[in-house]
Symmetry: D3
Subunit: 132 residues, 6 copies
């Protein structure tokens, strides 16, 4: 099994609802490092898991659409706690939709899985893994 990973980042504001969040119930923010991992059982004819340039471009497009925002104001997230683990899933699902739309090229239908890791600091991170 092969994987390839590309890293990007985003900077957002948000707040959480629920006592479990303590001071993070206040409006605050985060830099998230975003590691998107593409999985494929065999390499394609170019010896690639995925066109890394296209992959980085699509990850950046998804990340840029979320960047420099207050996520509390995003209509997609009304009443939702945009936790690190939840955002990992959002980014993975949006990336999966783009793969199915052939944004990473027709060869990308050989991809079988996708993992998105979001680092919220040097001491905490979250992953979401899904099949394709």
């Amino acid at each position: 099994m092969f994987t390839v990973t590309v890293r990007d980042h985003l900077m957002i504001a948000h707040s959480f609802r629920g006592e479990v969040f303590g001071p993070a119930q206040r409006l605050h923010g985060a830099t998230y490092l975003v590691d998107a991992t593409f999985q494929r059982p065999e390499l394609d004819g170019d010896n690639l898991v995925v066109d890394m340039g296209l992959a980085a471009t699509e990850v950046h497009r998804i990340v840029a659409a979320l960047s420099y925002q207050n996520l509390d104001d995003d209509p997609d997230f009304v009443g939702i706690n945009t936790t690190t683990e939840f955002l990992a899933k959002i980014i993975a699902d949006r990336l999966a939709a783009r793969i199915h739309d052939e944004a990473l090229g027709p060869d990308a239908d050989g991809l079988t899985g996708l993992t998105v890791r979001l680092h919220e600091s040097h001491i905490a991170w979250a992953d979401y893994h899904r099949t394709l």
Copy 2:
């Protein structure tokens, strides 16, 4: 599948028995970075894998109980080689016991797996993975 990871560290002395260990048979020591990863198939009602504050507190409690010790003198490790991979298992098992005691809250019974990674240097680390 979701995971969340928190990082802590500990500093200990120890020695090993067995020719395979070469100069590490002498009393020496290590800083271990500890990455504890909690696995859960679905997020809870707060969109969390685990209460990260409680998780960090429990990891720290376990790590602090080992810290600033000569592990050769710890009654739990008499005659045992406290290798990096062995210590990863010790920390994971102690953390699993705390989860079963509901130290991470009742929602933590949704956790299905646990991985502990110990970095002994910038060029060597070990993982132990177990189910919950």
Copy 3:
């Protein structure tokens, strides 16, 4: 010349005023890794630059007072662009005041300089250096 550095982090929301900031004029946020570096020409009687425990405690106190806030609402920063480089100076100046108050102990009067580095992502950071 000796230095000792301790690392902490904070997570805040803010926005900037001025065309130079582009999309960062919108309310967004950041995780800042904070590296506080203490400088001293000679070690003290314990072979220390500074009591690292006290240093970490004071850095954390200053960082915690800023954490989980929208800096746009902080009375100290009304009408001010709280850029990474500006926040590095704020933290350094607050730390210098605490050193002068002997919060790091009387031996800390041997410290001659202070640098605060704030990492806003894996690809951008800022430093502020001052004398004591």
Copy 4:
């Protein structure tokens, strides 16, 4: 399940064939950080996954045989795109052959899997995982 990982690196020149590679079709080069991960369900009698010294030595031997080369001139890679993911497999397969030759000692027959990760930069890396 336990794993142990050791890190090494290599520096090579190469070029790629195929429009998908864009400017990387020109002769260029890379530093690859190499993380070799050894997997074993239970620890051996010394509480080890593998003799880490021997493991590091074998990884280094394989890496050194590729280092400071133009891979385009290597008879093993004639007409082959030596992508990051492909090189991860080459290193893993060479390491697997050495394990089967007992280069890591007879106890290493308890190893069940091997992963090689190659980092080509701070924002891109690839993994290959295989059984033993």
Copy 5:
């Protein structure tokens, strides 16, 4: 004194002349992480050391002009050992020229120094510092 740093990277092939270089006399290559640090005694009216977006763009332009090349074929480097420390100076000098051309805006004339660090691996790096 303030500084701001932005990180980029480049991937090149080259070879060295001289026995001191051992196997690196052969054609090989490297990924260089490039950290460009801009120094300024006081912040500008926007509380900035430099427009970080412009700074990153200029660093990238200089880095891209060197990327995916065999430096042995670059007319600027005929008969020259393009060591890590030498390339740090090349990038710093090209960046200084762009600053003097006001590519970073007219406010950038407040910059007083520039440091370029090139990491050739996780265990080796070089810096060049110059005034502006």
Copy 6:
């Protein structure tokens, strides 16, 4: 001004004397990452600050002489607190002596300064800088 840095590491046991050290008065240990930085105003005839291979060899020799030891038993450190900052100086001074002995070659007399950084964990490190 140019610098070149090489990284190595060591693993030791030790204990401290003095209330300021709290639990670190007990026998414990550390992994220290060691970054040795060589400073030179101009490059030599090979475009080098120092022969990096020789530099790495000498750093390793000094580090290996300290490794896998209980520093409390080292005759050089009787009654001395072997703090991170103190050990940075020890390694720097031993390296300076080797440079003066021409262990890095006769060209190394162009070196003007030396910095040794010891990382004791991901959140704490110390530097010692000296002239040559």
